[in-house]
Amino acid sequence: MTMGAQASIARGDGTAQELYRPPETERRLSLAFITVGFAHLAVGILLGLLQGLQHAGIDLYAYVPFVRHYYQGLAMHGVFNVLVFTTFFIGGFLFFVAGYGFRRPLVTSGLAWTTFWLMTAGLLLVDWALLTNQASVLYTSYAPLQAHPAYYLGLVLVVVGTWLQLVILLRTFFAWRRENPGKRTPLIAFGALVTLIMWTMASAGIAVQFVGFLLPWSLGWMQGIDPLLSRTLFWFTGHPIVYFWLLPAYISWYFMLPRQVGGRLFSESLARLAFLLFIPLSLPVGFHHQYLDPGVSEGYKAIHAFLTFAVFMPSAMTAFTVLASIETGGRARGGQGRLGWLLRLPWRDPSVAAQLLAMVLFAFGGISGLINASFTVNLVVHNTLFVPGHFHLTVGTASALTFMGIVYWLVPYLSGRRLFSPRMGVWQAWLWFVGMTIMSRGMSWAGVLGAPRRTALGTAPYFAAEWTVPTWLTAIGGAVLTISGLLFFINLIGTLTASPRAEKLEVPVVESAPDGQDPVPGWLDRFAPWVTATAVLVLISYGPTLYRLFGEMSLTIPGLRPY
């Protein structure tokens, strides 16, 4: 195994920062993950455009190979964008930030490559089932809609891969701790650990659902399925998964972006606290997706509603700490006045522009999320287009546009080639921002007017005249987003194939606060108490309902493939 090169450079403030370069094999590994993820996003974006146009009455499915109908395309759009793109990008990014944060090789990069190939093998099964219209069950896999066993097996392999990733990160962490006794966990590696610890606990739901029920049922080993139990297990994972998508963006916003704008981390303690709070608070909230499900008691729905409001707190803290950190950058660059520092930020850096714009839309995504979580108000918006109007601002912008922003420095770093066109990158970020603003506005508006989500609206007999303008906005926004996506992929492919070799590139990482300046209490650098708190909260919020559902379980309902 090649060791990472170490060197020292003098910094402007007189301190010396050790440069670390991860071994070549790890750089190639991260690049492989990111490439597979973005290749699926490319297909996902095009299918999204087809949906937007269909809603506006322009049905192009007849002209697209492989895609037989709206719902097959919708299944691919959802699975590719939120399961494949996110998980693979996050896989590559977390391996990178862990290795770079610990400044040592992963334990081991061989196992990490095994993880990659396992996940890719699973992904090929998923791709095949989706492309042949044998898995048009949408990413929620709601039984008794049934998919080909290959689809369920493939997704299981992808999830097992994420668990292996935690094993590798923990082994690397323990090795680092032996070598660096008494030191605080480096910030970016800390963020990676929190993300995967939370996710691994959260994924218990779909693990039981897929391995215990969906897979044996689709193979004919099990006569029937219990749809309510299946869906409850899905949402056990299905909400915390959004923090699995979000936390990697937070790693960048807290620990990397401030450095990119020339600032510092405003408060290390609160940054760590916000991350750690996501471990216990992400999980006990899944019933807010099941407010309108029969068979789940109103009281437990209310408990989950309260806890959903609680998980809003670490994001509220993030808004302050991240903005304050960015402000230190704007002021260091000579920004004056209340808001003048905003203009002094390096907006011409596509990575910075993409992430700042992602944050702006995330504010609206957070607010619309609060509406969805609002118990009774949700009656107005549940399963309407308001919901995709919300999550295209969160996973579709806060995560996706931030990940694109990260790519603008990370792929040049990993590939050793300069970014093909920074200018095109800035255009891309702004077009995503504008396109998403228009599209999300259209979706939310149509949703409040009652238009259902996950529906081929363009051919629905009950299409209401008042939905016309909002669905057109959705289609126009989708077209702008497609152009933005196109610019992104030209830039990505150009960087990988046609760009000149780069000189030494920097990985932007903020410094940990020097001891004494911002004392970080020990409990903000430990994971066990937070894991225990999670178990307790899950037991209280889910225990009685799951106990009852498993007790009443009747595995009689057969699978159907009405697609």
Binding site: Y71, L138, Y142, P144, L145, D226, P227, L228, R231, F266, S267, S269, L270, L273, Q290, Y291, L292, D293, P294, G295, S297, E298, K301, A302, A305, F306, F309, F312, M313, A316, M317, A319, F320, A324, F375, T376, V377, L379, V380, H382, N383, L449, P452, R453, R454, T455, A456, L457, A460, P461, Y462, D518, P519, L524, S554, T556, I557, L560, P562, Y563
Partner: protein
């Protein structure tokens, strides 16, 4: 741990806002009586079509101004597909699905439910004004999902009272 003065203020303000919004929800439940569906019993979808009340879907008057609508959903229709009630009626819906998961949505009302095979959805709504509402399935249930619809006709009290 040192917390900046403004950051402390921001955190307290955020918590206060969230708490007030939550209290508004508590108010909507207890004072406005907007309720969410609860556990209303189970029914085996294989035999539901022969099991009361789902063996005879329809509209039943239960008292002055009170109706019960028993409905079944299957891909891709509701039975009955049309419901007629007089204006001013309190209607209790009792609905289940016979095959896959469906939805039940009537725009501009608080009627918004999931229909899960094996589970009974029970919910109430007061149709105060005469008029026509359309209802449709809002959960993906196969290639014909977007054609799954029904109608609720609220008749003026004079013609509706039968």
């Amino acid at each position: 741990m040192d917390i900046d003065r403004y950051e402390r203020l921001w955190i307290m303000l955020s918590a206060a806002v969230l708490l007030s919004l939550f209290l508004a929800l508590v108010y909507s439940v207890y004072a406005l009586d907007i309720r969410l569906v609860d556990d209303a019993g189970q029914v085996d979808p294989a035999t539901a079509a022969q099991t009361p009340p789902f063996d005879e879907p329809g509209v039943y008057q239960e008292g002055p101004g009170r109706y019960r609508v028993v409905m079944v959903a299957r891909a891709w229709s509701f039975q009955p597909a049309e419901v007629r009630v007089p204006a001013g009626s309190d209607v209790t819906f009792q609905v289940t699905s016979l095959d896959v998961i469906h939805g039940f949505r009537v725009p501009y009302t608080t009627i918004n439910q999931m229909l899960i095979p094996g589970q009974v959805s029970e919910f109430r709504f007061r149709f105060a004004e005469p008029g026509e509402h359309y209802l449709f399935c809002h959960e993906y249930c196969g290639v014909g999902h977007h054609t799954m619809q029904g109608r609720i006709v609220v008749e003026t009290a004079a013609t509706g009272a039968r």
